[in-house]
């Protein structure tokens, strides 16, 4: 299969109308098929990265476990919108992954440069 750059855009909080686990699942499959995978978190999507989540309290599988093992899937690109974090009173220290903070202009350039953008 040809290798393309994929950006998975996450803009929603987990659990409520949550698609967090499914978006991550798709990204992991893309990576396992040798694609160049990028994950972007903006707006309420940054809540997906919050440390200390306990999905078991809602009887849900813990998708954050996979988030902490992205390196094993060769996913090195995790991008977070800095403004979204700040508006929610969060700092990078509150997150469960090492993510690169981007400002809006940089995030926009990233998006524009991808082969495929997937929203889930």
């Amino acid at each position: 299969m040809r290798r393309k750059s994929f950006l998975f855009v996450n803009r929603k909080a987990p659990y409520g109308a949550g698609r967090a686990a499914e978006a991550l699942e798709a990204a992991l499959v893309a990576a396992s098929l040798g694609q160049e995978v990028h994950l972007a978190y903006l707006d309420d999507g940054v809540f997906q990265l919050l440390a200390g989540q306990e999905p078991a309290r809602l009887g849900r599988r813990d998708f954050t476990a996979s988030l902490q093992e992205l390196g094993e899937y060769d996913i090195d690109h995790v991008w977070v919108d800095g403004q979204s974090l700040r508006e929610r009173g969060l700092t990078p220290a509150d997150l469960l992954v090492a993510a690169t903070l981007l400002d809006r202009a940089a995030m926009a350039e990233l998006m524009a440069g991808m082969d495929v953008v997937v929203s889930i």
């Binding site: 809540f47 919050l50 200390g52 989540q53 306990e54 309290r57 849900r60 929610r88 009173g89």
Partner: protein
């Protein structure tokens, strides 16, 4: 007692919380559930509007929903009371109606 209002949306994702806060009446209470609990966190941009209401109305947040989202140990706004589902039932008993801000 007045109505119990429930808000299940993030304060950043839509106008449900704002709209609900604009319709609280004497004796009303607000319960944050599901993604609504993100409004309870002390430092967020949504805190200010909730803080105003917290002085006049009883405001609750559902503990299991906070914990699931990693907010179990977060510092919440002053005055917000954390309850479980039994507490939710109890609130529903003590208020005249329950209105969900879907």
């Amino acid at each position: 007692m007045g109505p119990l209002h429930t808000v299940n949306k993030s304060p950043f994702a839509g106008p449900a919380l704002d709209s609900c806060l604009g319709h609280l009446t004497e004796g009303a209470a607000l319960l944050l559930i599901e993604d609504g609990v993100y409004a309870a966190v002390a430092d967020s941009a949504a805190a200010a509007k909730l803080a105003m209401a917290a002085g006049r109305y009883a405001i609750y947040a559902l503990g299991p929903d906070l914990a699931a989202r990693g907010l179990g140990k977060a510092s919440l706004l002053d005055g917000i009371m954390v309850i479980d589902y039994l507490g939710f039932v109890d609130l529903a008993v003590r208020h005249s109606t329950v209105q969900a801000w879907l």
